[in-house]
């Protein structure tokens, strides 16, 4: 299975590499980091490598390395996150930073720990050890509710939408607005519809009608609806778990455009994807997980697809310090 994975990624990469040149040539509309920051990114990546190699002892060292910061302190900072299920170590000492207005792609092979990390940040699982800070303050995220309170919303792979309800009802599910603060009060449908329309408009999300049942929408529209819900609730950070899996090409583009719009509106996005081409398309930074550790933490434009594949698979590539 492993060699197959590697093979398909190689093939993917050779295709995306050509594209990559074009994209970078475009002039990095959104990549405004200075050379110094780029330098720091590299250091950061290296530090991540070292930490991953040496395990917990490097805890302090990682934090002492300056993080690449385009806007100072990261909004979301995970430090030394570990998670084990019985004897199985799913995550070891993982650090993750996310700034507002930044898209971080979480990549890695199956079982590398991407989903576990997202579940920990979104509150559906708790870490065995490690801390999560939001705006510099350590927070305890023990439930999805805690995550929402901290401005973190997750769009799950299976979307968590009710097909039998319309878009408005789905966006406000569990947080319906009432006309009066009484038990049994009628729902404030007009107000909810107005706010739904406003948030979808602000994200350029196109759907036939906010009163269309979600079951009648296309895959891309459903994904957009789920993202719209996260944005509606004033989240600062949106976690997207494989948002383009099972979508057609046009719909994938729709969703990737949406990811860029989220960033341009000042949100932080964590994107899990298997598709390296998409990752290079939208991500400012790549965090590569391998066997539950951070194998690399690099700027998207400073790394070749080849190197990323090497990080993912653990293969040795000249210049890239992949651990054995």
């Amino acid at each position: 299975m492993d060699w197959k994975q590697g093979f398909t990624q190689e093939v993917y990469y050779s295709g995306s590499f050509l594209r990559l040149g074009g994209l970078l040539g475009e002039g990095g509309r959104l990549r405004q980091e200075s050379g110094l920051q780029a330098q720091r990114a590299e250091e950061d990546a290296m530090a991540g490598q070292l930490a991953a190699e040496d395990g917990r002892e490097q805890d302090g060292a990682v934090e002492s390395v300056p993080l690449q910061t385009s806007e100072g302190r990261p909004y979301l900072a995970c430090r030394g996150i570990s998670k084990h299920f019985g004897a199985v170590q799913a995550l070891t000492d993982v650090d993750l930073d996310l700034h507002l207005g930044e898209v971080v792609a979480l990549v890695g092979d199956n079982g590398a720990g991407k989903s576990t990390l997202v579940k920990i940040i979104s509150g559906t699982q708790t870490a065995s050890s490690g801390t999560i800070s939001v705006e510099g303050k350590e927070v305890s995220i023990r439930s999805p509710h805690d995550a929402s309170a901290a401005g973190i919303e997750t769009v799950y792979q299976d979307l968590a939408l009710c097909d039998n309800l319309d878009v408005v009802a789905n966006l406000f599910l569990g947080r319906e607005q009432l006309l009066a603060p009484l038990v049994g009060s009628p729902l404030s449908e007009a107000e909810m519809e107005r706010r739904t329309a406003a948030v979808l408009q602000s994200l350029h999300i196109r759907i036939p009608s906010v009163r269309a049942l979600v079951g009648t929408l296309s895959g891309g529209q459903r994904q957009s609806t789920a993202v719209g819900r996260a944005v509606l609730w004033g989240s600062k950070v949106v976690l997207l778990d494989e948002p383009t899996a099972a979508l057609g090409v046009a719909q994938q583009r729709e969703v990737l455009d949406l990811v860029r719009r989220l960033r341009d509106q000042g949100l932080g996005v964590v994107l899990i994807s298997h598709n390296l081409q998409q990752v290079f398309d939208v991500a400012d930074r790549l965090v590569v997980l391998r066997l539950g550790r951070v194998a690399a933490n690099v700027k998207g434009r400073e790394v070749s697809a080849e190197e990323v594949v090497a990080y993912i698979t653990g293969a040795n590539v000249t210049g890239a310090a992949a651990h054995p």
């Binding site: 799950y156 009710c162 097909d163 039998n164 009802a169 196109r206 583009r253």
Partner: protein, 448 residues
């Protein structure tokens, strides 16, 4: 949706633009409501076939019986049977919307009715008539709610499938009814209680909204109590429609025209007045029919317009999504079974009052199946999330129409009953097929 590719990416949202009426989303808000696919998914595909079926049956039976079928007396009969099934079916719909089922309602109708009859005859026989009646109703409702809470506990807390829990309860309650009554028929002598079932064939004023209020009810121009009720409800409904439209316009949303809403309210009022006028030519609107509509309106509001109702649909549509949205599935399930029990308790009152007696805590064995069939024929899905309480009305109306029609056209009573079940079974299968067909069509059009 490839249009979005060319969208400029950077521009931050202009707050004024965000609510501009030309936005693709809000401009077509009404299209969503009028979209036939929405009807398909929400079970609305049933409405027109069912109406056609009803009209065909009514005309056919009326021709066959030489006008007896659509006489005031028989229409009264049809509607009383409709409310017997319909009131209990309302509770079943709430449970079905969650994707659960309550099989105990049949036995529960008998046991709650028996409790009412026993308490009225043994414990408060000398109290004033009104008090006795109220105690009886309260007892039946309490037994219903308690049984519902019990079933809800086992389903929501102990996580036993509702089919099993309520099947067990169906059996147990059947026995409890026999134990309570010692398998004797308990006759209820309280006239006020019996009036709740419009049982009094002899007494003119027993259990009907009186036809005489203003003018002679044989004249075209008259006002009966039932008509007054219809007028109040019709005007209230129209005002709610207009009020909603005004709020929508004030929020910058598209709203249907006032003319359209007025005609909608008027149409419903006129239909109501015609039905009431037909009933007035016999004895007036039977109280069970009045209660049926009261409960339909209450539950329709509860399910369509409140947070509880929204959560019921959500939990029935995608329980995981509802849970992630912070909805307490346990509380919703528990409440739903309690409400179903309550409606079975009310049904027990009406069933017992209708017969002036409770027959050993039991009801006809077909009662439960007819209640479930009412909900399903009306368009409520057995898999949850789709349907409405109005399906209890249409489904029960279809079954009651078949039942009375068969009883009138077939001379032998047994024949009528046998054929009634065959026809009802065929209708159930037919509409279920229609629904599956419509859904496969709508699924196909989504993929296209």
């Amino acid at each position: 949706m490839t249009q979005t590719e060319k969208q400029p990416v950077a521009s931050p949202p202009d707050p004024a633009l965000a609510v501009a009426p030309e936005t693709i989303v809000s401009g077509n808000a009404l299209r969503g409501i009028l979209d036939p696919r929405r009807w398909l998914v929400s079970g609305g595909s049933r409405t027109f076939p069912l109406l056609a079926l009803l009209v065909l049956m009514w005309v056919g039976f009326d021709l066959k019986t030489g006008g007896i079928y659509l006489s005031s007396e028989n229409v009264t009969d049809i509607l009383v049977y409709t409310s017997l099934y319909g009131i209990v079916a309302i509770g079943e719909v709430v449970v079905l919307l969650l994707g659960e089922i309550d099989l105990s309602l049949g036995s529960l109708v008998g046991v709650s009715g028996a409790s009412a009859a026993l308490i009225m005859t043994n414990w408060v026989p000398h109290a004033p008539s009104l008090v006795t009646m109220l105690v009886g109703v309260a007892a039946a409702a309490a037994v219903g709610v308690l049984s519902g809470l019990f079933a809800g506990f086992w389903v929501s807390v102990m996580r036993v499938p509702s089919f099993i829990v309520t099947l067990a309860l169906l059996l147990a309650l059947g026995g409890i009814g026999l134990v309570l009554t010692n398998s004797q028929t308990i006759t209820v002598t309280n006239d006020l209680f019996n009036a709740l079932g419009a049982s009094s064939i002899s007494a003119f004023d027993g259990g009907y909204l009186p036809p005489a209020l203003w003018g002679n009810h044989k004249d075209i121009l008259h006002l009966s109590t039932g008509m007054l009720v219809v007028l109040i409800l019709g005007i209230g409904y129209t005002l709610v429609l207009l009020g909603n439209a005004r709020v929508r316009l004030a929020s910058g949303l598209a709203a249907p025209s006032a003319f359209g809403l007025l005609s909608q309210g008027l149409a419903i009022t006129v239909i109501g007045l015609i039905v009431v006028d037909v009933l007035d030519h016999y004895q007036g609107v039977p109280l069970p029919v009045f209660f049926l509509f009261v409960f339909l309106i209450i539950f329709s509001y509860l399910l369509r317009s409140t947070r509880f109702g929204r959560h019921v649909y959500a939990a029935g549509g995608n329980v995981e999504a509802a849970r992630r949205a912070g909805i307490s599935i346990r509380r919703i399930r528990w409440t739903a079974f309690a409400l179903a029990g309550l409606m079975a308790g009310i049904g027990g009152v009406i069933y017992t009052a209708r017969n002036n007696a409770n027959n050993g805590g039991t009801v006809d064995q077909s009662f439960l199946l007819l209640v479930i069939a009412s909900a399903v024929i009306g368009g409520t899905s057995l898999f949850g999330g789709r349907g409405s309480v109005w399906s209890a009305l249409t489904g029960a109306l279809v079954l009651a129409s078949v039942q009375t029609g068969m009883a009138l056209t077939l001379t032998a009573t047994t024949d009528a009953q046998y054929f009634q079940y065959i026809v009802e079974g065929a209708i159930l299968l037919g509409v279920a097929w229609l629904d599956t067909y419509a859904r496969s069509r709508s699924a196909g059009s989504r993929e296209a």
